[in-house]
Symmetry: C2
Subunit: 138 residues, 2 copies
Amino acid sequence: MNNKESLTEVLKKEGLRYTLQRQSVWDEIKRSKKHRDAEEIYQALRGKNIGVSRATVYRTIDVLTKNKMVQKMDVGDGKSLYEAQLDNDHHDHMICVDSGKIIEFFDEELELLQDKIAKKYGYKVVRHVHQLFVKRII
Amino acid sequence: MNNKESLTEVLKKEGLRYTLQRQSVWDEIKRSKKHRDAEEIYQALRGKNIGVSRATVYRTIDVLTKNKMVQKMDVGDGKSLYEAQLDNDHHDHMICVDSGKIIEFFDEELELLQDKIAKKYGYKVVRHVHQLFVKRII
DNA sequence: GTTGTTGCAAATACTTTGCAACTAT
DNA sequence: ATAGTTGCAAAGTATTTGCAACAAC
């Protein structure tokens, strides 16, 4: 899937116009593989040729998350972190409590087990949040 | 473990004084088995004989969470939810996206699997956040 | 030209904090 | 008496929103 296309498609679907600001927010989120908060994304865009406001950053992230192009995550401090949700790239996060390092992981068995647990209660999983706060083994 | 004792012990350990406000916040959190936010806890205490301020509610919750008497959880809207952390009562949460109902669950296999995954990366799990957002199976 | 979008600053929502009055020891 | 605690209201932090100027169609 071409990302430029997916953005325009999503905007069309939502009845929204294609703008340079929206493209640049999406580009910026894709550009960095790190999990960043809205302010970092905003600051990264400042000083580049295309200016955006915080309001537009938040508003664009909103559309992108609604359409599963961006994943929002919460590490427990006030703010949310965002990362581009590329195709076939579901993963959970391990956060080192000492270094703050975020490690992505995926485990098929874990995914299946969650479905099994939900089913036992009469539910199906639509999404999940799974974060392991970890320490290095010496 | 007696809860009155554990509160006084914790306060002593922290070099803090025992007060009616602190006791009443802890009592109120224990009283309800539901997951509530700071405002709900504050409002529940208002209108009772012992008055407390929001500031004291937040400050007390802070001590209680630091000492694992209360567990803080985040469902993704702005606010945090709190629940008493009673002995041997670890569990994760399933949140129904339709009704908002919160179901607690515990699965030994899941716990072990998490440890195994972390170990594979050279880490050990110190705590985890695991929430399944679910829908009823019709 | 019309209607959606942007940026700004003000508003909001939750939580934290400074400080003077108060209370436990 | 002393040092910690409370309540209040102000400040802080992240995010949302109203609105006039502006840009896409």
